[in-house]
Subunit: 204 residues, 4 copies
């Protein structure tokens, strides 16, 4: 009981951080105030790099939330190392709006390579945090008793592959930034395909 | 149980996003700093377009939250498609403060038509997201066992009508922007009238 | 059960709005960037009107949250009118950071009377919202069965007195703004003294 | 039951404030817009004082959340004094982003002593709030029946030592600001080492 209550507050706190980070993304859309150049339509259309970065990062945080949700769902009880590793994962989440702002502002500039590399590098750190989270769940034996141990090893394998892909995309960003962004989207679709349950019928 | 816990976190995350988006609206009220023109009263009175946009969007997000709340209340368990469709609906919610800011800044300018069209166009996307949400609940058979199937079909019909009205108001906005805004208020009152329960007495 | 779940989401949503509004207050402390005038100490000390407004509004929102918390605690189930009246109360809460910013910026200017009047006028609206909330709880018979009806009438009386005091302080603000602010603090201490329980021993 | 529900809302509200304050830290990273000086890399590297302050304060708020979490976990029921003392603790939490911004902007300036003193002084206030919280839990006999009284006395002792250390670091900040920051990190590691449970095996 005690463990569950502790876990509930960890989830509530994490949900709060995810919800705020995903909502703060909109503040990165910096609308040019005043009627400086052209009509309102042309000014809205000129925001396309911000809109792309906004939608991309929204998808990224949403998938991270789903991943976090499914992972913590396997956990039986909280612990000090879990709280700290979870905090590290949340540090990464709160950093995303900043990396998104830098990406949006430089998507059409000559600094696009640097901006995408920073963006992908953020995910290297984030993926590292999630790998640490999985290691702590395994080593601390925090898994729920009714969860098949094979599942967490499958997740660990998936997370390690994703970590390597992020390292690769950070390198690719310096040469082909838009390819790096496309791979990022593909990785999230892969992350959504990781199953956290042994079979579709056991979800009730 | 497992399904309920998953649904609880989806609700908690969604409530967080709704709460933040509705509170961020106030940041769109850009008060002219310093004593540039006239006294404080005249500067406060000059904020009326911001206040109207603030109250209007507050009402919009509140009704969206009530709608979301009543809809998810009918659901038995969460699923991956439901999480993604819900994320799309939340993407729309987080975009509202931005559309509100554009509306407020242009309510008294010659660009008012464009600003209202963007505002109404945002609701076309949002209504699309809610229609997808209903389709996923129906197709994924996620409805609670004790819920009359007729209710979800009635809701689907209502949501489809609302979608068409938003498309119409977006077109109307280019000609009569203030009529388009008035229709928006009327649609929300209609949305509040949709019943999610078979009879008033079964709520306990 | 159904009513309780609905009430839980209303509380969760409200808690979110209260938590965000109270945290956004700090964003109203506008620190003068760069080393324009004097050292850092003198610039920090020059922020005293912002700090006073910050602490004052923090206390105001905290007491409003406690009041909201104790009031909803008496309620048995949610309803459409309760959701809307609660939304009106939250509209007032989200407006407080704006009124606080105006107050802070004008506390040492000749516009202090107007700024304090706006600040107090905000509480007239908020108190109106809470009076509507109480009326809906009474008229909709939403009170928990085990709650003594006398309690809600005592609360209603208290809320009506507070409403009249806010109207008075708004008028007083034009003549003696700092007295108006002092009365505001006193009213909150009065609000904290309203008992929502028949006797101290029944809280378990 | 009544007491627990009240405590749950206090936790939910607190979790919200912690989550928002920790996420708002990122807004303090003020990126120099436009290509004023050098390429994007040099501009990102120039942000190092902001990144250090961001990571430091993230760690501070995370440890404060863990401490708050473990402390409230020992409490049986809420009370009016507990709500107010908890509000005072949250006031401190919401102030951290401001102190962090001042710290980051002055980390490389001649005002670094003043900025670090303000930063450490904030923790003196915060530690004071947590000491009051502990006093109220003890004096109001709010401890859970199954909690060993010795634990709360051990926590009180730990909190008092921490308070004195913060007073000392505030003084040290004027002479050796970076030593003061290092002590702050050490204090948080000490805070994490305080045990809130009699033995590691009783957590289930």
């Amino acid at each position: 009981m005690s463990g569950n209550k502790s876990l509930n507050r960890l989830e509530a706190f994490s949900d709060g951080v995810f919800a705020i980070a995903i909502t703060l993304l909109i503040l990165e859309i910096k609308f040019p105030h005043g009627g400086v150049e052209g009509g309102l339509w042309s000014r809205i259309l000129a925001l396309w790099p911000f809109l792309i970065a906004f939608v991309l990062s929204f998808f990224v945080i949403l998938v991270t939330w789903i991943t976090h949700h499914d992972l913590i769902h396997l956990v039986r009880e909280s612990s000090r190392p879990l709280q700290l590793a979870n905090g590290f994962a949340l540090l990464y989440v709160t950093f995303i709006p900043f990396a998104t702002g830098v990406l949006a502002e430089n998507l059409t500039s000559s600094d696009v390579n640097t901006a995408v590399a920073l963006y992908c590098g953020t995910f290297v750190v984030g993926s590292g945090a999630f790998n640490i989270l999985v290691a702590i769940i395994i080593n601390g034996q925090l898994l729920r008793k009714d969860v098949d141990t094979q599942i967490i090893y499958r997740i660990r394998k998936g997370f390690r592959i994703v970590f390597l892909i992020y390292v690769a995309t950070t390198a690719i960003a310096f040469v082909m930034p838009f390819l790096a962004l496309a791979i990022n989207v593909a990785v999230r679709i892969f992350l959504l395909s990781i199953r956290y349950k042994p079979a579709p019928t056991d979800s009730q």
